[in-house]
């Protein structure tokens, strides 16, 4: 099979980026928009074509999906063995990700034509979007872990640029900075993990690392550090990078703030694509984790489980609709991470892996839909706080319907896409660890509750008086909504177990009704509760929040994690490290240097006193010295 055209998937966005970035301001804004959108449209078609070709034309070789290196070039040689190659690798998950990224990105490109219309810096927005698409696509097709790191960083910087798109708004600047630094810190772990792993295995290539030949791990397997083997360390550190990008606890703090960016950006980066990079990373390295560092996998499962519960609880208390969605994203990614953590490798054992990818796939559609819907609402209401909304169903029917579909999907209503993927995750968790299963089961209920709290508050609830009547979004915005809604409904019917599995071999999966029915029920309970409390304006929520008192406040303030971070960075690092270092440098180190200068000057001042200008004194010193020298050299030293 010839896949060499896939290089276009990367070249088109970067070309669009360069065009818009360097020449964008020379043309009318719409030119940049069209260049970006059309470029991404081509990428979108190519990606789907690749997927079709990969899965259905190429198909399986020896009963498993092969890893195809479509192209590869040496980029930077470190040592004889360690070379970064830039290339394109096609395997089930990268092809699946290509489809997800290009589809969502294409939708967002179209949507933004309407959403960003008339904004200052329209061409800048499109150039950044193209840069992001390039980086994200490069990330998913990476042939080796270092290429992934390269694009990982590029994705980070695109995210930084897009969050800070409204750069004159201090909160946006702060949020972008926070996002970048937090992920950067996590990436430090990633980098060290790569260094460790590559040093012991002497390779960066995924094909080698995840291949069947485990002999490359032998040199490091016996080594341990602080009670854990080097590969456990390496995997944990690599996961740290993934946790940073995927905003897992405790690196989650940047994601809610990242909502300062334009809403399409939130949809693209902070819901559907970039934040799942961590999941993708773990999935990509899954054999390494599974065979070399099962302990790390266990940690991953717990981190995922905890984050999903934690974020879901916070989501119930937030009022900013984008923040609710952000916490919901966290919670859903927690699901995916957990699914990977509890997964096995072969056959039906690997259901967690499959479910994770499946959920990633479906999540991309419904979460992008939710965000774009939220964008349409914000566009209409000019606010993103729930209290300013209510009764919008009358004004924005399309948005309403699509939003409702997305809410139903995320709540796990049967026969919508997330029902299937979530069910698989619960199955995997159930077989692995009952505690984690219980947590996830609970989270499913909470998810349904807060999503419908959001839905009812926006579209039902009180009839808010608006300054000017909200209107339905233009076609260019509603069409992507509708397309995504269709995706949300039907994405669940893709036979994932046949296509994307941990060991590349398909297996049979069935819906386990023993788990599916209770999970649907708890979802319905959540929806019902939300309906009860928020469909009409009631005082129940207020009363509950008062009844919960301190707990509510803690949750509302996101468990004060941000404040703890702020304390550590602002107070400890700035005041207790940086400032003393600066002081030390100015006063001790430089002081020593100045001190040497000072000593020289002062002693010179003292010595110059000898040059008193009194002739007799000179004479005396001279004579005395002569006498002393004679005494010494003529008499004492013989």
């Amino acid at each position: 099979m010839n896949y060499s055209y896939t290089i276009l998937i990367l070249l088109i966005p970067i070309a669009a980026f360069l065009f818009n970035g360097l020449l964008g301001m020379k043309f009318k804004p719409i030119v940049s928009g069209l260049v970006g959108t059309i470029g991404l449209g081509i990428v979108f078609l190519l990606s789907w074509y690749t997927a079709w070709q990969y899965f259905f034309v190429g198909g399986m070789v020896d009963g498993e999906f092969p890893k195809i290196i479509a192209m590869s070039m040496d980029w930077l040689q470190f040592t004889d063995k360690l070379t970064i190659r830039m290339g394109i690798m096609l395997d089930p998950i990268s092809v699946m990700m290509l489809v997800v990224v290009s589809s969502v990105s294409f939708m967002v490109h179209i949507y933004s034509l309407g959403y960003m219309k008339g904004e200052k810096g329209f061409e800048r927005f499109y150039s950044f979007l193209s840069l992001f698409s390039f980086s994200m696509l490069g990330l998913v097709v990476a042939t080796n872990i270092f290429q992934m790191y390269v694009f990982w960083e590029l994705v980070g910087i695109s995210s930084f640029l897009l969050i800070g798109f409204y750069y004159q708004k201090p909160s946006a600047v702060a949020a972008s900075k926070k996002a970048f630094i937090v992920t950067r810190f996590a990436d430090l772990g990633f980098l060290i993990g790569i260094l460790l792993l590559s040093f012991f295995t002497q390779t960066f290539d995924f094909t080698t690392l995840t291949g069947a030949d485990h002999s490359i791990f032998e040199s490091g397997a016996a080594k341990s550090f602080m009670g854990m083997s080097v590969f456990t360390w390496a995997c944990l550190l690599i996961f740290m990078g993934g946790a940073g990008k995927s905003a897992m606890f405790p690196f989650h703090i940047w994601l809610p703030d990242a909502m300062e960016g334009p809403t399409p950006v939130s949809a693209l980066i902070h819901a559907a694509t970039m934040v799942v990079a961590g999941v993708f990373l773990v999935a990509r390295m899954f054999p390494v984790f599974f065979f070399q560092a099962p302990d790390a996998l266990e940690v991953i499962a717990y981190v995922g489980g905890f984050t999903s519960l934690f974020a879901a609880i916070i989501a119930c208390t937030q009022y900013d609709i984008k923040r609710v969605l952000a916490f919901s994203t966290l919670s859903q990614i927690g699901y995916m991470i957990l699914a990977l953590g509890v997964s096995g490798y072969e056959g039906h054992e690997g259901v967690g892996y499959m479910a994770s990818m499946f959920h990633l796939f479906t999540h991309a559609f419904f979460k992008a839909l939710l965000f774009l819907g939220a964008g349409a609402i914000i566009h209409a209401v000019h606010s993103n706080v729930m209290q300013d909304m209510g009764g919008l169903r009358k004004y924005m029917p399309i948005t309403h319907i699509t939003f409702l579909i997305a809410c139903l999907t995320i709540s796990g209503v049967p026969f919508l896409s997330a029902f299937f993927s979530k069910d698989e995750i619960l199955v995997a968790a159930f077989h692995h660890n009952k505690l984690l299963f219980a947590v996830e089961y609970l989270v499913a209920g909470i998810t349904a509750f807060y999503m419908f709290r959001l839905y009812f508050s926006i579209f039902w609830g009180k009839d808010t008086q608006y300054h000017h009547t909200p209107h339905e979004a233009p076609k260019v915005m509603t069409i992507p909504l509708m397309i995504l809604a269709i995706g949300s409904i039907f994405a669940g019917y893709v036979p994932f177990a046949k296509l994307i599995t941990a060991d590349g071999r398909p297996f049979e999966s069935h819906i386990d009704f023993a788990i599916a029915i209770p999970s649907v029920l708890i979802g319905l309970v959540g929806i019902g509760l939300a309906m009860l409390m928020y469909r009409k304006e009631t005082h129940i929520p207020e009363r509950i929040s008062i009844a919960l008192g301190g707990f509510y406040k803690t949750v509302y303030n996101k468990f004060y994690i941000d404040e703890i971070y702020l304390f550590i960075t602002k107070k400890i690092i700035f005041n207790y490290i940086s400032r003393p270092v600066a002081w030390f440098d100015r006063h001790i180190v430089d002081g020593t240097m100045n001190g040497i200068g000072w000593i020289t000057l002062t002693s010179a001042k003292k010595i110059k006193g000898l040059q008193s200008g009194y002739l007799p004194q000179y004479g005396m010193v001279f004579a005395l010295a002569a006498v002393v020298f004679v005494l010494i050299f003529a008499f004492l030293v013989r």
Binding site: P616, M620, A623, L624, V627, V630
Partner: protein, 168 residues
């Protein structure tokens, strides 16, 4: 005791006593006079060793020239009756330390050192010998230093005039 030996010790005594007086006298004109005495005694000493020309120069230049110059300048810059304050104790002590220790050292050195005379016969020192050698250009001729000294003297003379000239 031979007369010339006695004469030498008298001259020595004069030199020693008047040197001390020169530097201790608190009246400056007297100091100049004591200096004159020292110089004259030195001249006597030259006579004793049969260097008449040297002694003459000493008398004319030193006693006659320099001391007179000094006395003129004293008269120009000081009151005759002016009496100096006693020198400060510190300086006195320092001066004495230097002087006494230096003198002691020199004396010890002089007494310890074995001086060796030349074997060659002495020559007669007369004006003619001095004159030919001083202006000679051959071996042992001093014409060049002599000329240099004369230039130096000229320069000193002009310099002195320029320096001492009343400013504008």
């Amino acid at each position: 005791m031979a007369l010339n030996v006695l004469m030498f010790y008298i001259l020595s005594a004069v030199i020693v006593i008047f040197s001390v007086l020169t530097i201790t006298s608190r009246r400056i004109l007297r100091a100049a006079f004591y200096l004159l005495c020292v110089l004259v005694a030195t001249a006597g000493f030259y006579f004793m060793v049969d260097y008449q020309f040297m002694a003459g120069v000493q008398l004319v230049l030193y006693a006659g020239g320099i001391v007179v110059l000094i006395i003129f300048s004293i008269l120009l810059t000081s009151h005759i009756s002016h009496k100096f304050a006693k020198p400060e104790a510190m300086r006195l002590v320092m001066g004495l330390i230097v002087g006494v220790s230096g003198f002691a050292l020199s004396t010890i050195a002089i007494l310890q050192f074995a001086f060796k005379e030349t074997e060659n016969a002495a020559i007669k020192v007369d004006m003619q010998a001095i004159g030919t050698q001083l202006l000679g250009t051959g071996k042992n001729g001093y014409a060049l230093p002599f000329e240099v000294i004369s230039v130096l003297l000229l320069a000193a003379m002009i310099g002195a005039i320029v320096v001492a000239k009343k400013g504008k």
